[in-house]
């Protein structure tokens, strides 16, 4: 492809808060560029997906190639690149943005600017992208254009830059496509330079192996060529190159500026990490593209099979999940209370939920997951530094000189009327305010430094409840800061249950310990005998509660010989018990291990 061709390529993405209409807008762009005629759209896309499914091919179109005949005459190739929407996937978003020259910022005409749209906007600005602010849903009666326009102007956009569309009704789509052509700069790659292509996403397919979604920056990527991944150093032969239009179509080459996918018989997503640079094995580039970061788990939790015989199956399931989830880490560990299991690392709480659910649903494992913890950096008296991601492994205080905890930069958007309670919440969570600005008289943006651990303690629920659901929130990791942390141990029937230990700030330790015990008393069902619950810091008991013994659990009436019903009741009861982990003589349900997350407030 010549430089002339490159001048007719536009690579862009859509950034939006959830539910602001990103996918509807994408559908409309695909439809309007005639990639598929409108009436056939659903059918064709579905047909092609159906076919792929039959073949066992499950990869999705992370980037769609559109052809648009501009009013000025020439036909442009518009590559629309998808970005993950959730805060857990900050780094992945940043790599998708790095594959673009422009971004459409979609704001809902009825909702206005939200935390997620802002967080992604800042990322896009950091990546040097041209931004096209678009107000969507202008057809809705509750649309408030003047307010949203003024919010966007408050963010530094010019009034004439802002486009107004209704993706649902197809209003303003043509104007938007023209703006993409005019305002998103073309790629500026060097065709003669050695190949450099950015991996901005990847997926695992049972037939093709890992499929990498790439943006070629310099040079030309050809089918059949031998490539090297610069971060991992591994080499592969390209077995297939292609684009999505949106149906998958194989092509012979991708030249500078182009976006597509490649398959190269890569067996494991760790072979091909998001952010890595693809180069030619014969003529490698001198420098990889900037910005690569190995996937880094932020939160850690113990994952244990309820039935210890399932340990091997759990290991196999984790290995399989890791094939297409490079951010998941795991290492075998042992808990005195829970037996053999794994300490798993996740990007965030959502990622943790997803993994746990997949393990239970797809691999039919019954699991106990401990409360998530962050990774603490512990400096010992001998000067050595230890990363502690399992509270039970925190060394004795006498050998610790300092504990540092991860802190994040949190952005919160809220209607001004709820500001007070949110300031209070951030103060309770040891937050340091770094910025506060009014976007307009009714909306405020807050920026805080907050300990990562504090936002795991039901922060999101509190944020929502204290703002009647209106506040939104996003965060990114800043680094480590020293903090006065202590370990709270929980004793059940006199024995420390290591899996219930947690690391908390000294200032709130006593209160949290007490609340945790109260909560555990409510969550652990009555047992045959009385069970004592205690919280202790460094061997000193700070709280105690007793679970009274079970007094009554028997089916009284035998209804006309209906034994089946009796049996079902007993089976149900037994099923419930199977979901619990027997720790000593006490059956502890999964919720109890998560109780620590819910004790911050009442």
């Amino acid at each position: 492809m010549s430089d002339d061709h490159q001048s007719r390529i536009r690579n862009f993405c859509i950034i939006a808060h959830i539910d602001h209409g990103k996918s509807t807008l994408a559908d409309r762009l695909i439809e309007r560029t005639g990639a598929i005629a409108k009436r056939d759209m659903a059918d064709q896309v579905l047909d092609s997906m159906e076919l792929e499914r039959e073949r066992g091919i499950t990869i999705k179109a992370q980037a769609v190639r559109l052809e648009y005949a501009a009013r000025s005459g020439p036909t442009y190739i518009l590559n629309l690149i998808d970005t993950p929407g959730h805060v857990d996937f900050h780094y992945e978003v940043s790599r998708s943005l790095a594959a673009c020259e422009g971004a459409i910022l979609v704001v809902d005409a009825t909702q206005g600017v939200e935390a997620q749209s802002l967080a992604n906007l800042y990322l896009a600005l950091d990546a040097g992208l041209a931004i096209l602010p678009v107000i969507n849903k202008i057809d809705l009666p509750s649309a408030d254009l003047p307010r949203v326009r003024s919010q966007l102007e408050g963010l530094g956009f010019l009034a004439e830059e802002v486009l107004a569309v209704s993706a649902k009704e197809g209003i303003g789509i043509e104007e938007l496509l023209e703006a993409v052509v005019e305002r998103v700069p073309p790629p500026r790659g060097d065709a003669a330079a050695p190949l450099r292509a950015l991996v901005f996403d990847s997926a695992f397919d049972a037939y093709k192996g890992v499929v990498a979604y790439v943006r070629v920056l310099d040079g030309i990527l050809r089918a059949g060529e031998r490539i090297r991944l610069m971060a991992t150093g591994r080499t592969f032969d390209v077995t297939e190159l292609g684009v999505f239009r949106p149906a998958r179509a194989a092509i012979a080459e991708l030249s500078q500026g182009a976006v597509g996918y490649l398959a190269a018989a890569m067996r494991d997503v760790s072979d091909c990490r998001v952010g890595d640079t693809v180069t030619s094995a014969q003529r490698p580039a001198a420098e990889p593209l900037p910005g690569y970061r190995p996937a880094k788990p932020m939160v850690f939790a113990g994952v244990y099979p309820i039935d210890s015989a399932d340990f091997g199956r759990l290991r196999e399931a984790l290995e399989k999940l890791q094939l297409n989830d490079a951010a998941l880490s795991f290492a075998a560990e042992t808990s005195a209370a829970l037996g053999f299991g794994f300490r798993c690392g996740f990007l965030g709480l959502l990622h943790m939920d997803v993994v746990q659910e997949r393990l239970e649903r797809e691999y039919r494992l019954l699991l106990i997951t401990t409360a998530p913890s962050v990774c603490y950096r512990v400096t010992r008296t001998d000067g050595t530094v230890l990363d502690v991601d399992n509270p039970a492994e925190l060394p004795d205080r006498s050998v610790i000189t300092e504990i540092a905890e991860p802190v994040v930069r949190a952005s919160i958007f809220t209607p001004a009327e709820h500001l007070g309670p949110l300031l209070e919440l951030c103060r309770e969570r040891r937050g340091d305010q770094t910025a506060m600005e009014y976007l307009d008289p009714t909306r405020v943006r807050l920026e805080y430094r907050l300990p990562l651990m504090e936002i795991m303690f039901d922060f999101f629920d509190q944020l929502k409840s204290r703002s009647r659901g209106y506040a939104t929130f996003d965060y990114e990791l800043l680094g480590y800061e020293a903090a006065d942390m202590v370990k709270v141990d929980i004793l059940v029937a006199g024995d420390v249950v290591d899996a219930l230990s947690c690391i908390v700030h000294r200032g709130t330790a006593a209160v949290r310990g007490r609340k945790l015990i109260e909560r555990l008393r409510a969550l652990i069902p009555r047992q045959q005998f009385e069970v004592a619950l205690q919280a202790a810091i460094g061997g000193k008991i700070i709280a105690r509660e007793n679970i009274p013994p079970m007094r009554k659990d028997v089916l009284a009436k035998c209804y006309g010989g209906d034994i089946t019903r009796k049996r079902k009741l007993l089976e149900k009861q037994k099923e419930g018990k199977k979901r619990m982990k027997a720790v000593g003589a006490v059956d502890i349900p999964q919720e109890a291990f998560m109780a620590v997350l819910k004790v911050a407030e009442d």
Partner: protein, 386 residues
């Protein structure tokens, strides 16, 4: 495994009619005078036809007992009940010494009617009282008084019933320990041969369930309910009634033969809507709908059966175990091994020993039984066998 062929069996007849429905009841029952009047003739005819069907199909040995349960069977005219029983007793060759129970509620029985039933061969009456305090009866949605119960009890004795059961309930809303103690004392003063003491269970779909889910039902704590139950055990022992099953107390030789069949996992044949049967390792249950039952009986070929479970030896081994543990004397281990072709320990490896270790059961050479102090947490032991 054909030992089941020689099991004793009992005949159950479900009479689903009630003058009204109590607020805690989820039994198969249809309330209201008009529906009873409309349906009782066709229903009794259908039950007789179902009896004929099974006699012809199963050719059963004579049963050891018969039980007319409800609903409130005695809302039907006594003459109709008498002729129904005479017909079934003749067709099934019920022996004259066989135990024949009918359930009734105070207010639905008079001396004359009871005498008719007694003469027809019904020899045991089970009276649903539940509590002696009229305010508690009202709170349960029952429309009789304690005085009406005493009249019914006296009328039954005068009609010649020498074997009477009374049902009481504990764990009722607003029921104190003293209330329950009073109930037990007042009933024992009348010297019934048998007393059933049931914990209130909140069943889905009942008015009580609705109120409980709204938090407007003042239920006593488990501690209070347990104390009430202990009180019943103490008072019955003093009165010479033996605690022989979780909820049942009886004078010597007055255990309920029919209910024992359920706990011994023996056979029974249920006639009528919602009735359950256990026959030669199979279980089935009839439809709970009157019209479907009538039409099914007319169509024949078992079309009124709503659920059927084929013979399943593993299920039987489990049920013999957990049902048998409901009896205070426990599971007869030798009989168990003879019946199932393997010992309880072989069928459930490690379980009996674990239950003993947990303090739930005690074991002698030939029996595994609940410990008396574990009766109220019996499910902990039962569920080990499912």
């Amino acid at each position: 495994m054909d030992a089941a062929a020689s099991l004793p069996w009992g005949l159950y007849v479900h009479i689903p009619f009630c003058p009204y429905k109590c607020d805690y009841c989820d039994f198969v029952a249809v309330g209201g005078g008009r529906r009873v009047a409309l349906w009782h003739g066709p229903y009794v005819a259908a039950v007789r036809a179902e009896g004929e069907y099974w006699v012809g199909r199963l050719r059963p040995e004579p049963p050891v007992s018969a039980f007319y349960g409800g609903g409130t069977p005695t809302v039907l005219p006594a003459d109709d009940l008498a002729s129904l029983h005479r017909a079934l007793a003749a067709r099934f060759r019920l022996p004259p010494e066989g135990e024949v129970t009918i359930e009734c509620n105070p207010g639905t029985v008079r001396h004359a009617g009871l005498a008719v039933l007694r003469r027809a061969g019904i020899n045991r009456l089970s009276i649903g009282l539940q509590a002696v305090q009229d305010r508690l009866l009202t709170a349960l949605g029952r429309r009789h008084t304690f005085a009406a119960f005493r009249e019914a009890f006296t009328a039954a004795r005068e009609a010649g019933f020498g074997n009477l059961n009374v049902d009481l309930m504990y764990g009722l809303p607003q029921q104190s320990c003293a209330d329950f103690e009073e109930s037990v004392c007042r009933v024992l003063e009348l010297r019934p041969e048998h007393l059933s003491v049931y914990a209130l269970q909140i069943e889905e779909g009942t008015p009580f369930h609705l109120r409980a889910s709204h938090g407007t039902l003042a239920l006593p704590s488990d501690e209070v309910a347990a104390e009430q139950f202990d009180c019943a055990c103490r008072l019955c022992a003093q009165a010479g009634l033996e605690h022989y099953e979780i909820s049942n107390f009886a004078a010597p030789d007055r255990r309920c033969r029919h209910n024992l069949l359920y706990w011994e996992n023996a056979d029974y044949l249920g006639l009528g809507i919602g009735a359950h049967s256990h026959w030669r390792l199979q279980r089935w249950a009839n439809t709970v709908r009157l019209a479907a039952y009538r039409d099914g009986i007319a169509a024949g070929a078992g079309t009124w059966i709503a659920e059927h479970q084929p013979a399943d030896a593993a299920r039987e081994r489990s049920e013999t175990a957990f049902l048998g543990l409901r009896l205070l004397e426990g599971v007869d281990l030798r009989a168990y091994a003879a019946r199932h072709g393997q010992t309880l320990d072989a069928a459930f490896p490690g379980i009996p020993a674990r239950l003993v270790e947990q303090g739930l059961c005690r074991r002698t050479d030939d029996r595994l039984a609940l410990r008396p102090d574990a009766v109220l947490v019996g499910n902990l032991a039962f569920s080990a066998f499912v």
